[in-house]
């Protein structure tokens, strides 16, 4: 198991009920972790409408998930 820090914004923050959490997981990738957390929190957005930032930069869903990683799940945005 590894421990990762997950941060949420906007719709995902509301659905998760928190803006960040420390998660223990065996998920090998951010994609698998999103599915895991989505099942727990009831995320309505499918993975193809969300992006992930790993340690502060957008990363592929199948990037390796290391112990101590910082993740941000990014729902579709619309500034301006």
């Amino acid at each position: 198991m590894k421990r990762v820090q997950v941060q949420y914004f906007a719709l995902l923050r509301e659905q998760a009920g928190c803006s960040e959490e420390l998660v223990e997981t065996a998920a090998p990738t951010p994609g698998r972790l999103y599915q895991e957390l989505g099942a727990r929190h009831g995320f309505s957005l499918p993975v193809d409408r969300v992006k992930v930032a790993l340690n502060g930069e957008i990363a592929p869903w199948d990037a390796p998930l290391e112990d101590g990683a910082r993740l941000v799940f990014i729902p579709p945005f619309a500034g301006g």
Binding site: L11, I74, P76, G80
Partner: protein, 146 residues
């Protein structure tokens, strides 16, 4: 310089930071909260940003604009928090020796900002509804979940 701020934007002050004697032209874009969206009456907007990535991506966009266009300076500031109708949500400004580059660069910055900078807005409607705006028609109604 790209900035996210919870404070009201002051276009005169922002313009003053950009202008100098070389600038023959100055173009800005001011995005304001409007009272209707897709047929619904809007009361207020709530903006939220992922600061770390938003400021990095915003600075990259400004650097690209300086490379692509013959401009002297460029800046963009986006506000976060709860905004009322008519309040300024985003400001982008560009100076150049000549107007063509200034117009093109300003357009580039605001378009790329909307597409690439992680900032969200939630509309508060006159009828009491709420919705996170997710770009185009991809609206996700919070109220549907509740």
């Amino acid at each position: 310089m790209f900035r996210i701020t919870p404070l009201p934007l002051n276009p005169d002050a922002l313009r003053g930071e950009l202008l100098d004697g070389r600038a023959g032209g100055y173009v800005s874009f001011e995005g304001r909260v409007r009272s209707r969206n897709e047929g619904r009456e809007v009361r207020a907007l709530e903006y939220e940003a992922y600061h770390e990535l938003a400021e990095k991506e915003g600075d990259r966009i400004l650097a690209e604009a300086r490379q692509k266009f013959a401009i002297l300076s460029a800046a963009c500031v986006h506000r976060v928090g709860r905004l009322q109708i008519g309040e300024l949500a985003v400001w982008a400004g560009v100076t150049a020796e000549h107007r063509d580059a200034a117009f093109a660069a300003c357009r580039y910055i605001i378009d790329e900002m909307k597409a690439r900078v992680p900032i969200w807005k939630k509309e508060h409607y006159a009828d009491g509804g709420l919705a996170w705006i997710t770009g185009g028609e991809n609206r996700t109604d919070s109220e549907r979940k509740m």
